[in-house]
């Protein structure tokens, strides 16, 4: 599985707001000149065009990104003297198991309002799939991020077209290009090479029939807690254009391209960045449009009571190895949600609700937390985890928690089934009659689950290097939303 993290970061508009409040109205003097930004569309033709000296800014190597495989090629080009060459590493490459990053404009950004697409030519050393290409990500606020997922490479040059969801928004864009690619197959994936050339924004004029969508075009209904805050980016924001080829090209579009409306602003308010704040009890329907075109799908939030406070752990810090808790110092993690393509649907991760730091997962099927440094839990006797199910309790709660020691050479694990089901999932799962772990959930109430760490002889888990904690729903379980807090190992 590939582990690409691709996330929108909240932008702040406070300074804009301040500006508009403090400035009094008056006529513009003759000398006033509005700042205008360059309109160059070229990004890489034979050389990088107007990009920063670094040319390529990698994703964080701490998250597994390989910074070695980026370069140019003078022998294999689509046109002209040079092309970009990307050497996608093998999944177990010591320098990082995937490659990706962005190209950033050298100056203050470009005015791209006169274009309708980003295009480039690419070919692979073999047929392969690039997980993500796009633009609008600048590693600052990523306000107008756009992503086209899973493009198929041929071994001959092919042109790729990424529509701009609404070009009128791009008056000063610095994020010229983003890509993320992992190897082929299952771990350790096989590396390969691909080339890109003639990377540029273009005005084709042949795009038509926009079909923006959210929530898979469904009218989604969710129950949430008062005080909760979340991003509409977690609700599948998409823009689709029909290309001259007749193909409907769909991209992931950042919330800032959309204009959101809440049917009751005393219940839910959406800001310009698509951040929803739940400010009152009741029900509100959130709808959207993009460049005047209505978005298919909606989100209705039913807001019940305030967000319940998770139990406060009472154990001494010396007896605890904490992964996520305000009560202790947490071990470093690479992520609380690996967004594992292609089977994971789970969205969300760390968030703050009513002042509490919690993990909030939506669209849940499975999710993994990866430790930066493998933990030695040999001394520990239990894993403790607080779980909050929604007010409307799912009818079939059946989950599996896996503690994994995963390395290139060997993978060992222990599992524990939770949720009140009555038979063991696997010989390696714990005793399901263990009352501490086999909690009965109540809607909207935090439950603390204590999972015994069992002898290696029973489970096979090598306790000296636990680096992954996976929570998944199993069998026919319909758990889709959950909050987690106070995730830690302890010894009795």
């Amino acid at each position: 599985m590939k582990t690409t993290k691709y996330k929108y970061i909240k932008a702040t508009f406070l300074f804009l707001l301040a500006l508009s409040i403090t400035s009094c109205e008056r006529e513009l003097s003759d000398k006033v000149e509005f700042a205008t930004y360059g309109t160059t569309g070229d990004i890489f033709t034979d050389t990088p065009v107007g990009l920063t000296d670094q040319f390529f800014v990698s994703f964080d190597p701490a998250g597994g990104a390989n910074t070695e495989g980026f370069g140019t090629d003078e022998s294999i080009t689509y046109q002209g003297a040079s092309a970009i060459r990307i050497d996608v590493p093998a999944g177990d490459d010591a320098n990082g198991g995937y490659i990706g990053g962005i190209f950033v404009d050298r100056g203050t950004g470009r005015n791209l309002t006169g274009y309708d697409v980003l295009t480039f030519w690419a070919k692979g050393s073999t047929t392969a799939t690039i997980a993500l290409v796009g633009f609008g990500t600048d590693f600052i606020d990523d306000k107008y991020a756009v992503g086209l997922e899973n493009i198929k490479l041929s071994t001959d040059w092919r042109k790729y077209t990424i529509p701009i969801p609404d070009a009128s928004k791009l008056i000063q864009e610095k994020g010229m290009f983003i890509f993320s690619a992992g190897g082929i197959g299952v771990f350790p994936e096989m590396g390969y090479t691909f080339w890109m050339d003639e990377l540029k924004f273009e005005k084709l004029g042949t795009l038509g029939q926009p079909q923006p969508a959210m929530a898979n075009k469904e009218d989604k209904v969710e129950t949430k807690f008062l005080g909760d805050q979340f991003s509409m980016a977690d609700y599948g924001l998409r823009q689709t254009f029909n290309l001259a080829s007749g193909i409907n090209q769909t991209v992931i579009a950042a919330p800032s391209y959309f204009s959101f409306t809440s049917s009751d602003i005393e219940v839910a308010r959406v800001n310009e960045s698509g951040i929803v704040s739940l400010v009152g009890s009741g029900s509100a329907k959130i709808t959207a449009s993009i460049a005047g075109v209505s978005v298919a799908g909606s989100l209705t939030v039913n807001v019940a009571g305030g967000f319940p406070v998770a139990p406060t752990p009472s154990l001494a810090a010396s007896d605890v190895i904490s992964i996520f808790s305000d009560a202790y110092t947490d071990e470093a993690v690479n992520y609380y949600n690996g967004f594992w393509a292609p089977y994971q649907t789970t969205l969300g991760g760390e968030t703050v609700i009513d002042g509490q730091n919690v993990l909030n997962y939506t669209n849940f099927n499975f999710v993994g937390t990866q430790l930066t440094t493998p933990l030695d839990i040999s001394e520990m006797t239990h894993l403790s985890i607080d779980i909050l199910m929604p007010e409307v309790l799912p009818t079939d709660i059946d989950m599996l928690i896996t503690l994994k020691n995963e390395s290139a050479t060997e993978t060992t694990f222990q599992q524990q089934r939770i949720g009140g089901q009555t038979y063991a999932w696997d010989p390696r799962t714990g005793d399901i009659n263990d009352t501490e772990s086999n909690a009965t959930f109540e809607g909207g109430v935090w439950k603390t689950i204590k999972i015994p760490i069992r002898p290696t002889a029973e489970t096979g888990l090598d306790k000296t290097g636990v680096n992954l904690i996976i929570i998944e729903r199993i069998k026919s379980s319909n758990v889709t939303d959950l909050h987690i807090d106070n995730l830690y190992f302890y010894k009795e």
């Binding site: 084709l204 042949t206 029939q209």
Partner: protein
Amino acid sequence: MDKNNKNSMRITTTLLKTFGALVLLIAFSCNLDETQTVAEFKNIVLSDEFDTDDFIDSDIWTFDIGNGTNGWGNNEEQFYTKRTENVSVQNGILIIKALKEDYSGFDYTSSKILTKGLKEQAYGRFEARIQLPTGQGMWPAFWLLGANCGDGTADTEVWPNCGEIDIMEYRGQEPTVVHGSVHGPGYAAGNAITKTYALENDRFDTGFHVFGIEWTPEYINYYVDDVLYNQITRAQVEEKGTWVFDQPFYIIINLAVGGNFIGAPNEETVFPQTMLIDYVRVYNK
């Protein structure tokens, strides 16, 4: 297949030659000299601007209803009606709407209007301003059929001997491309004399475009907006068969769904789809 390919290659070459000559002419002469046959059709004889809401002029238009024989000979999947759901005039526009619905045993409905028996003419300039629908399986057309088309009895001729002039045909899955063709004896269906025209920086489903022909005893010129993109001459036609374009023809405007020319709609095809006609105009000398 090979034979078809060879044929179409030859057509293209001929057209290119013709075009080359035309371009030279335009480039080197300010006035078109008097030896060049230029038909100027300025006398308007039919003009339907669709300016009255909810009114389709029965002195000009009639309807074909149903699915014909074998989907009008092309395995088309729609059932044509004259209900206002499928054909109406609103705000100065004639709207032909394809719907996905169960109707008389078919999955789609749409409409087909024609001037058969009402307005028929040999030669002239025929044009319409149209915004086309979109999506796999949409097959709109603006075309002419010989007034003597029939079953071969009582002074009628069977198709293709009666002749067909396709001013505009379009596949919803190719939103920047239209086709102009003639069909007749020796050059029908897959062997029609045809040429495609592609918009460079625009598409046919996002705005109105003018589609027209100038038809004389010697040639048929095809144009889109202000671009003349093809000339089919009598000589060219006679290389393949008989020129059957010296008799009156009538106008047909329809929006078919599915059929041999384009294939069936798919799950991405959005319904309803509309073909919007701003006007239809016919001129003679």
